[in-house]
Amino acid sequence: MTCAEVRELIEAVAAGDEPGGAEFEAHVAACGGCAAALETARRIERALAALPAPAAPAQFSRQVMAAVRRARWQHDNQVDRVFNFAIVLGLVIVAVAAVSLLNLGSVANMMLAVVEAMAEARHQPAPWGRDGSVPVALATAMFAMAFGVWWWAERRSASREEARQ
C-alpha cells in the first residue's frame, strides 16, 4: 500500500469502521508519517467524542410554546379575516339581489311569470300573488341567516380566545 492509499483509510480505521488489514498495519508500522497521522486521527476521534454537547437554555421550552401559541393566534386571525370577508361578500351579494327585487321588479316578475306559467300548465293557482312579497321574504331570510352565521363565527372565535387566556 502507498501512503496515499493508507491515508484514505486512516479516518475509517480510527473510527473503527474499517479493520485496516495486514497491508495497512504493515505500512503504518514502517512509515512514521502515516503512523503519526493515524495517531492524530485517533486523538481527534476521542476529542470529538469528549466534546460537551451544549444543552438548551432553561427557558427554551417555555419560549417555544409561547412562539407556537403566537403562530397559532396569527393563523386563527388570518382564518377569521378570510371568513369575515366571505360573509361580507355574501351579504353584499344578497343585498344587491334584494335591491334588484325591490326596485327593478323585473327579476321578480320574470320569476313569477315562470311559476305562473308552470301552475297554469298544471291547472293550479299560483302559490302567491303578483306583489313579490315571497321573494322579498326569502331575501330577508337569507339576510337573517347570513347575520346568524356571522354572529356564530364571532362568538366561537371570542370563546376560543377566552379559553386560551
Binding site: E39, A41, A47, A56, V68
Partner: protein
C-alpha cells in the same frame, strides 16, 4: 423513547390543541436539536432562534407526518434544512485556526494528553466551524448527540456508506486543519 410512547405522543400532538403533549415533545428533543443547531451556528442567540424555528416547523408539520420514519429522524431532517437555509442567507465568519503571532502551530503528535485541554478543544471547535455545512451537521449529530449512521442516513436520505464517507472526509479535514 420506545416506539409505543412515541406513537402515543404523536397522536396527542397531532390534534394540534394539546399544548401539554407538544411541550413534552419539545422537552424530549430540545437538547438534541439545540446541540446540533448550536454547533452549526456557533452563536447562542442564533441557535435559540434556529432551534425555535425547528420546533415551529415540527408543530406545523406534525399533522402531515405519516410516521414512516422515526420522529427523531424527521426532526434531524428539519434541523438540517433549517440550518442550510439559514447558512445560505448569512455567510459564516471564518475563524482562524492559528493561535496568533508568537505561537507555533499545534503539533498534535506532541501533545497527547492535551486533547483534553481547553485550548485544543477550542481549536477543534473552531476547526469544526470551518467545515462545510453537511460535514458539520454530520459531526455534530453523530459525535455530540450520538445519532447513529442509520438514523443520519435516513434523515439525509443517503446510503449509510455515503454517511460514513462524508464523516471520514470531515475528520480528515479537521486533521489537516489542526496539523497544518
Amino acid at each position: 423513547m420506545d416506539g409505543f410512547d412515541e406513537q402515543a405522543l404523536l397522536e396527542r400532538c397531532r390534534g394540534g390543541q394539546d399544548d401539554a403533549a407538544f411541550a413534552e415533545l419539545v422537552d424530549r428533543y430540545k437538547d438534541l436539536v439545540y446541540g446540533v443547531v448550536y454547533r452549526l451556528s456557533r452563536d447562542r442567540g442564533a441557535a435559540d432562534d434556529l432551534a425555535q424555528e425547528v420546533f415551529l416547523k415540527v408543530h406545523r408539520g406534525l399533522p402531515y407526518f405519516r410516521g414512516e420514519a422515526k420522529l427523531s429522524t424527521w426532526i434531524y431532517r428539519i434541523v438540517f434544512n433549517v440550518c442550510s437555509q439559514e447558512r445560505s442567507r448569512v455567510r459564516p465568519v471564518e475563524l482562524p485556526l492559528d493561535r496568533g503571532e508568537g505561537h507555533r502551530p499545534i503539533d498534535p503528535g506532541g501533545i497527547d494528553a492535551s486533547f483534553g485541554d481547553f485550548e485544543l478543544r477550542d481549536r477543534l471547535e473552531h476547526a469544526m466551524a470551518t467545515l462545510p455545512d453537511n460535514y458539520r451537521f454530520l459531526v455534530a449529530a453523530h459525535y455530540l448527540q450520538g445519532v447513529d449512521y442509520k438514523a443520519l442516513a435516513e434523515a439525509l436520505d443517503m446510503p449509510i456508506g455515503t454517511v460514513k464517507t462524508h464523516l471520514h472526509r470531515a475528520k480528515r479535514l479537521l486533521r489537516e486543519r489542526l496539523t497544518s
